[in-house]
């Protein structure tokens, strides 16, 4: 069986996989990183989103071997070593942007990519459009949008001016 070598959350791994092994299977089953979820079988829900070389992608729709030589970040790789949450995680907690939490890892990974790629600003419509690859069956999205907007301000070092 072939080997795949990749860096996950700052640590290098070489793992034996099959041709058909999905990246999400490598992460969850071989590396024990079960924070990345699988919510659908149709590439639509976004629960499995991770970053490959800084881009958010669906790890259920990526072969492990396609990720050979790349740098992957999962939800487990966000918080600081002392447990301090990433600003996006902190914003989700602060704004009650999760209920059951199933969609949350993918939502947070997609949201970080969206915020990082849009330093010029993000309107509410931009956030909703930008997160359309992530489905949430609990929150109704309102608080997720608020959290992402708040995290945009923290991540880009801008003062948060309260709306209304």
């Amino acid at each position: 069986m072939p080997n795949v070598t990749l860096t996950v959350n700052g640590k290098s791994h070489t793992v034996e996989v099959e041709g058909r092994t999905l990246l999400v299977e490598l992460l969850r089953e071989k590396l024990g990183l079960t924070g990345t979820h699988v919510g659908c079988d149709t590439s639509q829900c976004g629960a499995c989103v991770v970053h490959i070389d800084g881009n958010s992608v669906k790890s259920c729709t990526t072969l492990a071997l396609q990720a050979d030589g790349t740098t992957v970040t999962t939800i487990e790789g966000l918080a600081a070593a002392d447990g301090t949450l990433h600003p996006m995680q902190e914003a989700f907690r602060e704004h009650h942007a999760l209920q059951c939490g199933f969609c949350t890892p993918g939502m947070v990974m997609s949201a970080i990519d969206l915020v990082q790629k849009n330093p010029q600003g993000l309107s509410e419509a931009d956030i909703r459009h930008g997160l359309e690859g992530n489905l949430c069956r609990c929150t109704g999205y309102h608080n997720i949008v608020k959290a992402v907007s708040a995290a945009w301000h923290t991540m880009h070092g801008k003062e948060l001016v309260a709306a209304e």
Partner: protein
């Protein structure tokens, strides 16, 4: 998913040799269609040939053409300042495909090789009269699309790039299926000195097609009013749980008028 051997060649000749030697070998681009198909066990390849290391990415713009490498992602086309300037409708179309994660991996070559009847790119290729370049020849858009999921590509033939002529004006308007985000009806309108071309995706059983009646009317008068009175027959259109053939026929008129107005 059935297992397969995975290869990532670094030369086009090596990729085509593998694909030619084995009828069950298949190319892999962004995987945003192919991996879901594999998961459903609808396809059982022996070898999967990853095209990502063949140097098929990149965008080249001249005053009269835009050439896009087959492995260029939808996100790259959508965000390209050069494409936005030369053919803004093409960048807009790419920005409307799926979601950000699909756009980060899905490629123009994969979309065209697959020729899904609801895919967006086929409408741009057909309306702009683009040329598809493969490892062995060039194919005009009018000869390339041969019915849903069917193209002029031979077994093992690899698309390397697509060249679009720059139109005077163009626009893409898409009525999205709210769940899948594919086109329920998508209309690409392109105006050239020689006339207007209109391609419709998402609607017909046979996949993307040119709308001759709209093209004639718009070539005479490029305004939404010019096509307001022209009905599209529903005979060859798709009926499914999302929309009836009659509704799709109606949407073709509405989205075409919007596209002309937006161009």
């Amino acid at each position: 998913m059935y297992d397969f051997t995975y290869e990532k060649p670094t030369a086009i000749a090596a990729a085509t040799a593998t694909l030619a030697a084995d009828m069950e070998a298949k190319a892999l681009a962004g995987g945003q269609t192919f991996i879901p198909v594999l998961k459903q066990r609808l396809n059982k390849p022996t070898v999967v040939v990853d095209l990502s290391k063949l140097g098929l990415t990149g965008i080249t713009v001249t005053p009269s053409t835009v050439t896009i490498g087959a492995m260029t992602t939808h996100a790259t086309v959508a965000n390209s300042a050069e494409v936005q300037k030369a053919i803004p409708a093409l960048a807009h179309l790419a920005s409307m495909i799926g979601d950000r994660q699909v756009r980060a991996r899905g490629t123009i070559g994969g979309s065209l090789a697959n020729n899904d009847p609801s895919a967006c790119y086929p409408s741009a290729v057909l309306a702009l009269g683009a040329t598809i370049t493969t490892d062995r020849r060039t194919i005009a858009a009018d000869d390339y699309f041969q019915g849903m999921f069917t193209t002029a590509l031979e077994q093992g033939e690899i698309i390397t790039s697509v060249t679009f002529p720059v139109p005077e004006k163009a626009a893409y308007q898409k009525f999205r299926n709210p769940a899948s985000r594919y086109a329920m009806v998508g209309v690409f309108v392109a105006k050239f000195a020689a006339g207007v071309r209109v391609a419709i995706t998402g609607a017909a059983q046979g996949g993307v097609f040119r709308h001759a009646a709209f093209e004639a009317a718009l070539s005479a008068n490029f305004s939404p009013d010019a096509i307001a009175g022209i009905a599209t027959p529903a005979d060859d259109l798709n009926s499914d749980i999302h929309a009836s053939a009659e509704y799709r026929a109606h949407l073709i008129g509405v989205m075409s008028k919007r596209a002309v107005a937006a161009a």
